[in-house]
Amino acid sequence: MNRRMLELNNVEVIYDDVILVLKGLSLQVEEGQIVALLGSNGAGKSTTLKAVSGLLVPEDGEVTDGSIEFLGQMIHNQEPSRIVRKGIFQVMEGRRIFEHLNVEENLRAGAYTTPHRQQISEKLALVYEYFPRLAERKQQVAGFLSGGEQQMLAIGRALMATPKLMLLDEPSLGLAPLLVQEIFQIIERINQEQGTSILLVEQNARVALRIAKHAYIMENGRIVMDGTPEELSDNADVREFYLGFTERGQRKSYRDVKHYKRRKRWLS
């Protein structure tokens, strides 16, 4: 435990040689941990994940400064295919499954780093154990699955690669609250039972803080605050801007939403 798995140190990312998205971003994931990365739209959360997984390159993005270290090796600006082999798998935002393939074919696609048939079928069984719903729909064309099932499929496909570190980008996006709960329970189980470290990007701060061991809050391309979920949940700014509590601890109603925002202080 507590071995450092992933370490981003002062990472700067520029798209198209001009657009500065991340600057001086540093964060760490320890082995076996779930770490949450919270932030509003456009804060640079997805870019952070893509910088780790190497998927920046097809989008003409580049890590121009700083370093990304995974298990002691520098991995920034490497080919995504090499990074996958090292044990990092990103579940992209919006699910991105192969819609015309069926469920099982989708899952097998995730195992392309594993050459042995025997291992593949063991892994399939494991995925079906975590996601019984997928087992029921093995032969269905993936495009016809519900949103929640597609998200399960995307996570299941990641599991097929037996990653050491899974990068999850907004798994709760567009899902009903009950389903969000179900998926987050499964993520937590995967983390505990498989020992998979998880770096989780979420807009739904409440569910993310429930399962994370450590969380970072990101704004305008840099980390403005970090701490344990308890510390963050106690912080007045996090409560106001991420958890939607008023200062008296009540949940806010949309009827009471103000047209102005309090100034953030980010004091920890």
């Binding site: 009827r255 047209h259 202080r265 980010w266 004091l267």
Partner: protein
């Protein structure tokens, strides 16, 4: 034009002299909307009669809380039409500050901008409902479901005014002509560095005398442009935008939002600008940071042009005439580099730029003069309607604040305190005869509370607050502000509070500049999250130590800083550590951080403290933190005991 005694009379005159000329300009949804002088006259008529219809009478007051908008000016002038005073409350004030001003100044009507301000008033409503009759708002967003009976919209008041005008067709003109110069026009809050803000009563005669004096020094013209972006509750903004604006008739421009100010200034290209040192300092550090990020050629050219510009500026400060060679360089630097840079900053048309409210560091001063900007220091306080001493064109020395404004007399009391006298000196503090007696001496001299002296050319030099100037144990005169300003030349230091007078040696509490230190940290691959995290890094202590050592080199040994610490948070007006004009409240900090001061004079190299944080909405939180203390005591020096 000397016939007008009050601001509303000036307004009527302007509406007659140039009815179609732009008086106010406001940016809405990215488009500049103009209001002419005749329209301002009409709207002031409607709103003032609306207030009259609601029952506002001579001798009562209104308070205005909001960003700079045409409605702010209209409301202020409308109150003055009826012989009432207006009180500006800083728009970022917390609830308690609003309560203090509104209840102490007997405010009957509140004119507020938007939901944020309405919410503050509603929170206070139990305390205010006895005295406040109505709350008038001008931005209706989010207020539809508010059912407080006393809430009324700005246009509704104007409609009432039009109806009132039909019944009383001459009321408006009669009220205006009944106005006298000695009537109180505004009640202005003093900055309150030493205690709670006091309420100073400023008359129409004060405001007009000040505008006369200032325009006698610098001939503002009606076709000039001015961008009004600093709080209108600040006397400095009142003095230029309201008094001089009405007196001369130039146009006021209001930015769309505080965040768009820089861009909006660039679009307007003002001729006149007045801002406290903080704004000028920010501009310099922005230029420096942008230059560091620009290409090699631009950097070289800028460095060369700046070196020439500085040389030329220094020659001018010395009063030397330029050599032909220097004049050529001046033109070349302007054409090649500075004209473009000034255009980016929105300063290309500037004829007069002023700094006031606090001392501006010589380096910043020199920088702007090197760029060819005619930046001048002014000196004054709320009690002298904002200004009583100012630099004259071509006679600028950056260590001085210039010569008295025509109409003002300045002298030095036997204990070194600066005294001011003249038509711009205030009448009294609102319902506070004791404070008035303590400040306003016989024969009309106002005690400024600042220590200073005149140099050989008759320029005034301000040292510091009288109460802060002290003798160190070896007899050296010690001014904390002097040392603080020296520290603040470092781009890494945002704010500093120096202690010394009562103590065996000198220490400092320092606020790092989050932007610049953050950038430095990024360049040095030092990762950080919050301000607190960055401020407590060993490496950051080291660069600040460097800056402190540099400051110490220029100080007499007894005044050198022996120990310092970096504060875990920026000093903040919401925590009452700064005034609303962002000046350090030394006394308050002394009380609040007593533990830290003890630690600075102790032997430990770190201290654990627990502090309160106040958020903008009034909520509070606790914060516990360990702070490191850096010791610069030279090994051979002994601490001299008291």
């Amino acid at each position: 034009m000397a016939t007008a005694e009050t601001l509303p009379q000036l307004l009527l005159e302007n509406a007659r002299r140039f009815p179609q000329k732009v008086a106010l300009r406001e940016k809405r949804f990215g488009i500049w909307q103009t209001i002419t002088w005749s329209e301002v006259g009409r709207r002031v008529k409607d709103f003032s009669l609306g207030l009259a219809a609601m029952g506002l009478e001579k001798g009562q007051n209104i308070a205005i809380i909001g960003d700079n908008r045409p409605e702010w000016i209209i409301a202020e002038l409308s109150a003055q039409v009826l012989g009432c005073a207006s009180i500006g409350v800083y728009q970022d004030s917390v609830v308690e500050e609003v309560r203090y001003i509104v209840t102490n100044a007997d405010v009957r009507y509140l004119v507020v901008e938007d939901q944020e301000q309405v919410d503050k008033v509603i929170e206070l409503w139990d305390a205010l409902r006895e005295t406040v009759q109505s709350i008038i708002y001008y931005d209706p967003r989010g207020l539809r479901n508010y059912d407080l009976a006393e809430l009324i919209s700005f246009p509704a008041v104007e409609t009432m005014g039009r109806e009132f005008a039909e019944q009383n067709p001459t009321h408006f003109e009669e009220s205006i002509s009944a106005g006298r110069g000695e009537d109180i026009a505004i009640v202005s809050t003093t900055s309150g560095t030493t205690s709670r803000p006091k309420l100073a009563c400023i008359t129409h005669a004060n405001l007009i005398a000040m505008a006369e004096g200032l325009t006698a020094v610098d001939a503002f013209q009606a076709h000039h442009e001015f961008v009004s972006f600093l709080p209108l509750s600040w006397i400095g903004e009142q003095m230029i935008s309201v008094s001089c604006g009405l007196y001369v008739g130039f146009a006021l421009n209001f930015p769309e939002e505080p965040e768009t100010t820089a861009q909006d200034i660039r679009e307007i290209g003002p001729h006149i600008m007045f801002a406290p040192p903080r704004i000028w300092e920010n501009m310099v550090s922005n230029v420096q940071v942008k230059m560091e990020d620009s290409g090699w050629l631009k950097r070289r050219l800028f460095a060369l042009a700046l070196a020439w510009g500085t040389q030329i500026a220094d020659a001018k400060f010395q009063g030397e005439s330029l050599t032909l060679w220097q004049s050529m360089r001046e033109r070349l630097a302007q054409v090649l580099v500075f004209s473009n840079l000034l255009d980016q900053l929105g300063l290309r048309r500037i004829r007069w730029a002023y700094t006031g409210g606090a001392a501006l560091g010589p380096d910043v001063f020199r920088f702007f003069h090197a760029l060819g900007i005619n930046l001048k220091q002014g000196y004054g306080q709320t009690e002298t309607t904002g200004i009583c001493v100012i630099h004259r064109d071509g006679d600028i020395k950056f260590q001085t604040v210039g010569l008295p404004v025509p109409g003002a007399e300045v002298s030095i009391a036997s204990d070194g305190e600066i005294l001011a006298k003249g038509t711009m000196c205030f009448r009294q503090y609102y319902r506070d005869p004791v404070a008035t007696r303590n400040t306003l001496l016989d024969e009309g001299w106002v005690k400024t509370g600042d220590a200073g002296y005149f140099d050989d050319d008759g320029h005034l030099i301000v040292i510091d607050r009288v109460s802060d100037v002290m003798q160190l144990h070896d007899g050296t005169t010690f001014s904390p502000q002097f040392i603080e300003n020296k520290l603040k030349f470092s781009q890494y230091i945002r704010e500093a509070v120096v202690f010394g007078g009562d103590f065996p040696f000198v220490t400092a509490m320092i606020n790092i500049d989050f932007g610049n230190v953050g950038k430095w940290a990024e360049n040095h691959h030092l990762s950080y999250t919050t301000y607190t995290d960055l401020a407590q890094k060993q490496e950051v202590y080291e660069i600040i130590r460097g800056a402190v050592e540099q400051t110490n080199d220029d100080l007499p040994p007894a005044a050198r800083i022996r120990r310092f610490l970096l504060l875990h948070k920026e000093l903040d007006a919401d925590d009452a550590e700064l005034t609303r004009t962002r000046k350090v409240r030394r006394g308050f900090i002394h009380d609040r951080y007593g533990e830290l001061i003890d630690a600075l004079y102790g032997n430990e190299d770190s201290i654990q403290i627990l502090t309160d944080i106040t958020y903008q909405d009034g909520s509070k939180a606790k914060l516990e933190i360990a702070l490191r203390i850096e010791d610069l005591t030279p090994a051979e020096a002994e601490l001299v005991p008291e």
